[in-house]
Symmetry: C2
Subunit: 425 residues, 2 copies
């Protein structure tokens, strides 16, 4: 064991894979994260729609690394990096700030949601980026059906039964599909007063197609499937206002006001504040989303000891799990090579294993190289890949079970969330 | 179908079993509950300690009764009963109050926690009565280990590693056992700075034995097992003060102050406010805990159309699921008999199927008639009975799986909760 200290900021896909790759590397690793769990973000929408429990997508970091005596998990948020002194500043939940020194630093703090300056939309149209968001959305989605059941006025009832998703990337598409499934299938027959057939799911995007990161033919297929499921897809449409009871779209989208109690923001992400701090301290550039412009080997210009991987790096790559995983693993390998005195590895090259999104049960689209898959085949690929990458054997088993319940059956096992307006007992 | 309307207040064990018994009875049933789910309270402590997800102990009421066209589920809280007008007043989450008329009424609103007048203890020593409580406690229990890991000062660290349970009934005993298991087994090897061997679990009760509702020899066995697990059991000890950093016990208990960040109140329950409203409106008596004194047939004196079952009725019976289940079923049968013009059933008689509590893995005590079971045999009985009564096939399967993970393995699959002091991202 050398006394080389590697600090990893963030236990998302980038940080997790860097930490795994450093096993038995003879370095001491400190993994710093703001929560005690790794978050399997691609399945977060299933927590929000009652399919999975939060534990299934959020395995405790300490449990993942319980056998790694070389690894120290620290709960806290990195607020700044002292580049000259080679240390990160960590704010802990006890209110104190501590310095953690490093020899090599891997920054993988991911992205946060962005309202593109319209932060006032957040209250009425929450977004889906962490477990708290997912439980909040779960509460809102199911609560709206309950409110529709209580409501006697037809117009007010329709407002409760209208769901607006802003942004037609994977999160928006997957949520739209799931909410449509809830109304058409999972909750069918459970209400006596509201007619869930009246449920309207509206999916808006300023772009001219859904899933713009996919090849165009797959966008067409996804759109067709969404439409068949009853989702009202509005492209070339921008939201100009969001309030408690609806949204207003721009003139290009028809200028209409859509009355809806439940609005979800799935339109964009930006780099966290830490990216700006690092850019400032190192003189590195940032792109429009605030991501750090890195060298071809993912290091910060002039600072070969600092790697930035995943969503925080401006690399012209999509913000998906694979980019972060491969980046984290690459950074760890670079560190090991340097310590071994071997020549540096080639520049980081992303190997695109493909891109996939589910639309409804038995339907997904997948882009693998030049190959396109859709329908049941795409869905089976989606299912296997996500099960494969889910962390921990027990999570794989219970997740598979919950999928059987939800897709073969029509139950939603995890419907408990903060119901809005719930009081007393 | 007659036009007889049965209103059931509460979807706990009493209300659920009354509703089930009224299947195909030719009456219309309205089941009113403050949440959308039935709560399987006996396993709530496992949600609080990371074994089960909230969905596993809280199946949606609408899903349980999806095929019952004669049954209407209403979300809301019954605030009062108009005895003369035969209607209940329901406050709904939309802020409106509605009248729901009945011909027969089954009141099964359960119990709430009681601090016996010391309500100021609630902030520092929350109790465990519903899902929100369980998630709050889950957050506090796991967060304390994290804080101990961060803390450099040995005294402050010990305070984080000390858990005080107030009340040695089943909830207190089961929580004490589970927290001891977490420190000794489940979380072992996951922390690098805190020594979880320093964890102290203190279980206090004013009575002279643990599990006072069980036969005395079982209390002795339970005490022995708890002590072997390292739980510090203090009997004949009353808590006189609770604050942010500890508790103080009375002179009989030694007058000592115990420094502890995590305190849990498991000491007592009382009838909800609705019991008082009904007593007032009907002239019925109440006992010290505010429960309604009922006739031998569980009706309110002078009101044969109003039944009170489960924890809300003063019947000299323990506040356990079986009493509520049997009471609910009895009330439903009485209603059916009357409608059929048959002679009234005999007075309600509780058939005591037994009483059981787990202490740790592979260890439980069970009291069945005059028979006593403990250790592994008691635990297997506990396991089968709870699985049998859990609602829904899918909950049985995933619960069994989580038990395999937690008891054969040592994982805790559901550790996500509101971490106190968690901020930012």
């Amino acid at each position: 064991m050398t006394d080389h200290r590697v600090v990893i900021v963030g236990a998302g896909f980038g940080g997790l894979f860097a930490a795994k790759e450093l096993r038995a590397a003879g370095v001491s690793v400190t993994l710093i994260n703001g929560t005690t769990y790794h978050l399997f973000e691609p399945l977060l929408y299933q927590v929000a729609t009652g399919i999975l429990s939060e534990g299934e997508v959020a395995p405790p970091i300490r449990e993942i690394f319980r056998h790694r005596r070389d690894l120290d998990v620290r709960l806290g948020w990195v607020t700044d990096v002292d580049v000259a002194g080679k240390a990160v500043l960590v704010a802990a939940p006890d209110g104190r700030e501590r310095r953690v020194p490093y020899d090599s630093l891997v920054v993988a703090a991911g992205a946060r949601n962005s309202y593109f300056g319209a932060e006032e939309f957040a209250e009425h149209a929450p977004s889906l980026k962490n477990i708290d968001d997912a439980l909040e959305l779960r509460g809102r989605i199911f609560h709206a059906f309950e409110m529709a059941e209580l409501e006697e006025d037809p117009e007010a009832r329709r407002r409760w039964l209208t769901y607006v998703l802003i942004g037609a990337g994977p999160t928006g598409v997957e949520l739209a599909g799931q909410i449509a499934e809830l109304a058409r299938r999972a909750l069918k027959g459970q209400y006596r007063h509201a007619d869930l057939g009246e449920t309207r799911v509206v999916l808006l995007d300023a772009a001219d197609r859904v899933l713009p990161a996919f090849d165009a033919p797959l966008s067409v297929k996804a759109l067709r499937h969404l439409t068949r499921m009853g989702v009202d897809v509005r492209l070339n449409t921008r939201v100009v206002d969001v309030d408690a009871s609806g949204v207003k779209v721009d003139a290009a989208g028809g200028g209409e006001r859509i009355e809806a109690h439940t609005k979800i923001w799935a339109a964009g992400v930006a780099a966290p504040a830490l990216a700006g701090r690092i850019a400032e301290a190192t003189g590195a550039g940032t792109d429009r989303a605030g991501r750090i412009v890195v060298e071809p080997d993912l290091t910060v210009p002039g600072h070969p000891e600092i790697f930035v991987v995943g969503d925080m790096a401006a690399q012209g790559l999509p913000g998906v799990a694979q980019v972060a995983m491969q980046g984290g693993r690459y950074a760890a390998r670079m560190i090991k090579r340097r310590l071994a005195g071997r020549p540096p590895k080639k520049p980081f090259r992303y190997f695109d294993k493909g891109n996939m999104a589910t639309i409804g049960r038995f339907a997904a689209v997948a882009n693998v190289g030049k190959l396109h898959f859709s329908g049941l085949l795409g869905w089976l690929m989606w299912l296997s890949v996500h099960l494969f990458y889910l962390i921990g054997f027990k999570n794989k088993v219970t997740t598979l079970l919950h999928w059987v319940v939800s897709f073969l059956g029509r139950g939603r096992a995890e419907r408990v969330g903060p119901a809005h307006g719930r009081r007393g007992g």
